[in-house]
Each structure stands twice: as structure tokens, then as C-alpha cells.
Symmetry: D2
Subunit: 144 residues, 4 copies
């Protein structure tokens, strides 16, 4: 486990499975690929349920992935605090995702304070370099 | 049909069913209750699929409803333009929704220009007065 | 003083003059017209310093006014807490302000919690009804 | 001039001086240090006019610098289009700037389309590595 992390990738995955099983309602579409100091990388499989006309993943699918990526990065860096609450999310949708492909989310925490955590996420279609969506989010951390 | 509208509620609903059937993937959870000049009101049924620990509807469910409400308000006011694209969405999550209840979305368009539409949405739990989420969104309208 | 307020308009103005005299650096351009339960109304005079080509008030002038209006509404409703900190501000610029006119800001707090306050502001040119800018903001309230 | 740029740093500076002299109303506080492909770096001098209690630069000073940095990056990359209009700006304020220091803005454009440009800006106190403010902005580009 990298220096400074409170939970490894496998520990975060197990915590999510126990506390948020709903995220897997349509099957295991969300995969935590890596957690690191102030960072996380996730992948979302392509799934017809989340598709829009033209075969590209929907805006809500991107928003769900970005929110989840921020939550995972915070968990890995502060430890198992189930009650962290999203207070603000802001999205810029830049391009259509590529048809028939999953999405990769790269998350970076910009601040990890005692009461608030703030981070950004860039989403790209698998195997592509263009950013399809940029998100920022703020999370309130409950008093210990 | 109120003055200035390009589509009635029933016309918008029929257009959505034809162009975005995916929105009904889990059954008919989203209901367009009313469209008006620069406005729309929608309802989302409570559904276990969109629930978080504690029995409240999830952040992604709220984001999906807000995005959909803005899209419906724009459609009703500019007519059937399938390719309107979300460019920006920003959410403030204010309180937990009430357990076991659906959500009501009240949408107001702040600007309906030739190229961009901007609006805000307030979400409340059914039968409650507190705002649980406030959203603003920008949509790019394709050249005619 | 309306029910539930912690400071009257004059008390807020005196507090601002003492704690944030910089706001008056260019003269008294910002006027607190009214404070109320979860609300405030401010006015900003037209001033050549804040003008852009075409004679309209600048984006930064609008952002300063919106941030100030939110701060005033929070102060009036929680009392003299100098250290309230802006954590997030989001702006949609909808139309150009009218040339040669001041701006009116109408602020409404959507949430006034123990740790966070969230509100929205609509800005209009004086004497006009169109919204030129819509803002939302989040403020962190220090532990008592 | 780097490949792909439409204006050099000196050309952008001369354009700004001619079209937006108001930015220098308090003296030459804003300096364009570098423009590049989809990027720009600016500096803002410390100036007592923009200071808050504690000697740190104010939120509006940060917002003005971020908006200006995005405008400069777009100009350098699309050429002298005076009428580019800010449509959305969103800020996360992460830490207090350091007392008595200027600010450095690093801007990166995430999308430079025919009608819309979107970018992000990170602000740091001079000589420091922590991000004090993160901004994203959208600009509407007039039809040629």
C-alpha cells in the first residue's frame, strides 16, 4: 500500500461491496483500478443500459462514475468513513464518448481537509486521449 | 397548450419515448407533470434501484432527474430538437431526501437563446417543502 | 428587525465597514438595501472602473457583487462571524448588463446549516427584469 | 511562436492593452508570462487594494485573474476575437493565499471548439506549491 494511504484498492472494493451494493445493481460495471496518494483511477464498462442514441454512454453514467471516483479517492485516503456526503458536483461535458467503449476516470484530490475534501476527475473513452468530461466535487467529512 | 410553447406535455412525452427509450429502462419512473413557458415540472418515483443506505434516493438519481427536467423544459419551448447537448451541469446537494419518497423537480429556464439555453432546477421530496438539491445547467442548441 | 434575523441591515453595514473596509476602496459602490430571513437585496452603482467595452459592467464586478450579497445574507442570519469562508462559487452569465446602469442583486439562502451555508443570487440591471447573471455559492461556517 | 498558436505573448498583451485597458486601472498588476498550445501562464502582483483581513488576496481578485487567464489562453489559440463571451465560471476556493504574495495562474484549455471553449485554471501563491483556487470556465466564440 503506497505511503499515506489508509486503505488499499482491495480494502476499498470490499468496503464498497458491503456498504454500497446498489452500485452493482446492473452487474459489476465499475472497477477500481488503482488508488494512490490523493488519487484514484476507475473504469466503467460499456453497458447498453447507459447508452444514448448513437451508442455513446450517457451524461448520467458519466456523472455517476465521476462521483464514485471521488468517493473512492477520499475513502482510500481517509479510511472507512461511510457517511462522507457529496455537497457539490460540477460537470463540463466536452465531447461525446466513443460509441461502444467504456470510460476511464482519473481522479485527483485538490484538498483533503478535516471537514471538506475537493477533487477533480477527467473522463476519457477507453483507449482514447481526449477528455470527454471534466468534473469537480466537494465532499463533507463528518466529525470523527 | 400555453402561449409560446412549441410542444405540449403529451407531445414531449411521446418524443421522449421515441428518441430516449433508455430513460424507461427500469420501468416508467420519470413522469412529466407539466410544461409551461420557460418551465417544467417532473416527478420521479421512489425505486429501490436508486436508493442509498438509509433509504434515500441517490445523488446520481437526483442528477439524472435534474438533467432530464432541463431537457424537457427546453424541448417544450423550442420544439423537437433531439440533438440538444448538455454542456455544463452544477449541483448543490443540500439535504438528504426523505426515505421512501419520490422526488419532484421544478425547472425554470433563465435564458433561451439561439445557441445556448440555461436553466435551474430545484428538487424536493414528494410532499415536502425543503429543497434537497439545486441544479443549474447549460445546453447547446444545434444550428437549425 | 424581522423575526429570526441576528443582525439588522444597519448592523450588517457597520460590521462590513469595520471588518472589510476594502470593499469601499473605489468609494461606496455597494449598498445593502435589505436583509431578511434567508435573504438579502443589494445594489451596486455604475462606475467606470468596472466597465467593459460597450459600457457594461464587467464579469468580475458581477462576481464581486454576488459573493458580497451571499456573505451579507449569511451574516444577517447567523450574526457577526467574520471568518465565514467562501468554498465554492459558480456563475452563469446570461446576458450583457445594460450600458450605464448599476446592478441589483437578489440573494436567497437555500440552506443555512451548522457548518455550511448555500445560496443563490440573481443579478439584474437597475430597472430591468431580465436576469444578467445567476450565481450559487457555498460558505463554510467556523465552529463556534 | 509555438506551433499552432495564432498570437504570441506580446501580440496578446498589445491586444489586451488596446481592447481592455480597464484591466490596468490599478496599475499593471496582471502579467502574461507565457502562452502555449491550449495553455497560458499569468501572474498577478500583490496589491493592497485586493487584500482581505490577514493580508491575503481576495476571492474577487482570484476570480478576476482566473477569468483573465482563460481569456488570454483562448485569444492566443484562436486569434484576436474581442467578442468572446464568458458564459460559465465555477470556482473552488481551497486554501488561503499566502500573505503578502502575488498569485500565479496556470491555465489549460480542455476543449477549443468552433462555438465553445472550456478550460481550467489553478492558482497558487508565488513560490508555493499548494493550489489555493481551482477554476473552470466556458466561453462562447462568436460566429466568424
Amino acid at each position: 500500500m503506497p505511503d499515506g494511504l489508509m486503505m488499499s484498492r482491495d480494502e476499498v472494493s470490499a468496503f464498497i461491496d458491503r456498504e454500497f451494493p446498489q452500485i452493482h445493481h446492473d452487474g459489476r460495471l465499475y472497477h477500481i483500478e488503482e488508488v494512490g496518494p490523493l488519487s484514484a483511477r476507475l473504469r466503467m464498462d460499456y453497458h447498453e443500459r447507459h447508452v444514448r442514441p448513437g451508442g455513446t454512454l450517457s451524461g448520467p453514467a458519466m456523472m455517476t462514475l465521476a462521483d464514485f471516483a471521488l468517493y473512492v479517492a477520499i475513502l482510500a485516503n481517509i479510511g472507512p468513513v461511510a457517511l462522507t456526503v457529496t455537497t457539490n458536483l460540477s460537470f463540463n461535458f466536452l465531447r461525446k464518448p466513443q460509441a461502444g467503449r467504456g470510460l476511464v476516470a482519473a481522479c485527483r484530490l485538490l484538498k483533503l481537509g478535516r471537514r471538506l475534501a475537493v477533487g477533480e476527475v477527467t473522463l476519457r473513452s477507453e483507449g482514447a486521449s481526449d477528455i470527454v468530461c471534466h468534473a469537480t466535487g466537494t465532499y463533507s467529512i463528518p466529525a470523527a
